[in-house]
Amino acid sequence: MRIGVFICHCGTNISGVVDVVKLAESISHYPGVVISKENKYMCSDPGQNLIKSAVKEYNLDRIVVASCTPKLHENTFRACLEDLGLNPYMLEIANIREQCSWVHSDNPELATKKAEDLIKMAIARVRFAKELTCSKVTIERRALVIGGGVAGIQSALDIANAGYHVTLVERTPSIGGRMAQLDKTFPTLDCSACILTPKMVEANRHHLIKILTYSEVEEVSGFVGSFEVTIRMKSRSVEMKKCTGCGMCQSKCPVKVDSEFDEGLSKRRAIYMPFPQAVPNIPVIDRANCRYFLEKKCGVCKKVCPSDAIDYDQEDTILKEKFGSITIATGFDLFDHSAYGEYGYGKLKNVITSIQYERLVNSSGPTGGHIIRPSDGKEAKKVAFISCVGSRDNKMGKPYCSKVCCMYTAKHALLLKEHVPDAEAYIFYIDIRAAGKNYEEFVYRVQENYRVKYIRGRVSKIFEEGDNLIVRGFDTLSGESIEMEFDLVVLAVGVIPRKDSDSFARMLNISLDANHFVGELHPKLAPVEKNTPGIFLSGSCQYPRDIPESVAMAGAAAVKSLSLFAKEFLTSEPMISEVNTSICTGCLNCKNICPYRAINEEEIKDLDGKIRIVAKVNETICRGCGTCVASCPSQCINLKGVSNEQILAAIEAL
């Protein structure tokens, strides 16, 4: 056994505290150590060359590097060993920066002593190091995108345009998401449907994209490169192959319920397409409201359908497919303002939400673009827009800023002035957040050209006086109290995570952030990746995002799938657990405790021919977390590269 030890100064990060020169000297006398050297930067080319020449000169077979955390440079030094023809796992890192010099700068002498201990322990571990090899895993070159809003559509298009199959799963009857509901979009005021529908159609016609609407992902297992996914396609009660989208059925259906797409401002039928440009252009029967399913009566749609497409007996279809990557693009929900007692508990008729307002101003919306108030259908002439409702509010458990509402509120006020030139618009705000490209200029335009009154102060109360609303606010800039009468109040309700985000995360075995959005792997360096390899994030499921950002993220997430698909194969991590079957008693503690479900049982034949059950590790699923090792009562499960004997040797070296 010929060990080389290399100690890094890390500029002065380590050597400013730890006496590395003295350390190199004393370590060189340690049993088994053939050579011990220090260098200013071990990770630099000269540092690595030092290792290379020492390995050749002294015929070293394993090395210890005492430096920063292995998270940063373990791979650098492994590659260095590989270049030399050594097994890359004949390496141990002693972290003497994060775990020593940085935290003990007040006591150099003891820090040097601790560094010596850490190195001794690493030497003890490297003595028992074994050569490990990676195995190759094939990649299923097909992508799953969950959520068919603008972000999901864009990710699907980007992946498909690179030549790979994509399945796009959307829960509602049509793709399009929130953007399909919007009127004009800030800051350019282009019509939302005009820029979205071409993308929806393109995705629908793309020969590599399979769109599954009215469908949901039910189960996910497996790992990067080969996720096994179960998808439930809910029964539409309409045969997609036969239906021509003529709409006869929905014109004749006698049942009327609130339209989700119009946010309750209009009615839809029990058989319906959410909006005229829906993709696919095929209705679904909402069985919870259909009279045929509730009372076995009616059946009108079946009678009138010229293509005989209605099928009341259609059942859900379960699909099981394999995918190499999963992109989450499930978008957001909106804050329910009934939580605010001071704003009327959601019961004041003429207090509406921002998304309802989008439907009101839309010329193909329920009012044909007339901004009228719900109580009496009168045109709204004096409108208050109130920002940060359910955002930046600790009391509501929503401390974060929803990011898009300052801008869409400015847009809403502008649209009011465009539709009703003699109307008055007031925006009650705390701060104006307009940091995107051309956003600030947009807000200026709204203030200067459209003369929208911005009042800096959070509204404290809204109450009814007749059909009108009294808004009680305060202009903090002038110090004036405000109590004004309005026809209509529009609340900029906050962007919140999907209401089912918790169960969704459990199904995918992923974590959520503190606000229950689908948090990213690293806020700066990995904003579209999850901690589970092969799972990527697109659009506003990660955090409130406007359309430009959602689309940019969608492209970024697609590139992550593509760079995965571009690989010939994946290499599996060799530092995983392994069962010594000769002593395994088959208690299967490990199987039950493994968080990745990587352990199964296996029958083996003993030497005397008896069959018995032992634990078996699935090498491609195991992540090497070591939970099983701690749970095994007979100590027969071991983590390769961090074995029990290595840990014991390290403790003994102290």
Binding site: K395, R472, S481
Partner: protein, 184 residues
């Protein structure tokens, strides 16, 4: 004009007495918007918070916020940053009383006089005696004939005779316990 940086002595003093960190206030103004008495105040609640954040001690202590406040708790209840605004207001009042700082604004100048007489009345008699209260207040506020026409009415209702003195020890104890951050 703020020239030499901003320290935080008043904020720290309030934090010590109440554990409230005034720097959580982001000046949204919702407290002032909901306050039905803010029209009486030279410094509405959010502005008092700002003065504390800027450590403008004299301005804060000589404001009349805490003399106009009716202690309805609306501000605390609706503050999105969950700041107990009323408690901050009360604490500033306590400090102003301890340091004998007078309001710079004359409009509510009688309120502190009333407050002092009222409190002394309670501490001394266990409950309020309207005659003493009125007489003292008129003397100290130099409004000798204020409400004098009410005297016969009070007399008829037997409100002028001093009631039996109860143990004032307990009352004193309670008041002592409330001092410091309850506006006393």
């Amino acid at each position: 004009m703020i020239r030499n940086g901003i320290s935080q002595t008043l904020a720290l003093e309030i934090e010590k007495r109440t554990k409230i960190n005034v720097f959580g206030c982001y000046q949204c103004g919702k407290c002032s918007a909901g306050c039905v008495f803010s029209y009486l105040m030279d410094t509405p609640p959010h502005l008092l918070m700002r003065l504390i954040q800027l450590d403008m001690r004299e301005k804060a202590l000589s404001s009349n916020t805490f003399w106009g406040c009716g202690a309805c708790v609306t501000c605390s209840f609706r503050c999105p940053r969950e700041i107990d605004v009323l408690r901050v207001i009360n604490t500033v009042r306590s400090i102003a009383i301890e340091e004998r700082v007078l309001s710079r604004n004359n409009s509510l100048k009688d309120v502190p006089i009333f407050n002092e007489i009222f409190m002394n009345n309670i501490i001394g008699n266990e409950h309020v005696n309207e005659f003493l209260l009125g007489a003292n207040f008129n003397l100290k506020s130099l409004k000798f004939f204020k409400d004098i026409s009410l005297l016969p009415v009070l007399y008829k209702k037997d409100k002028l005779t001093a009631r039996k003195k109860a143990s004032t020890r307990n009352i004193k104890k309670i008041v002592e316990g409330l001092k410091g951050n309850n506006g006393i």
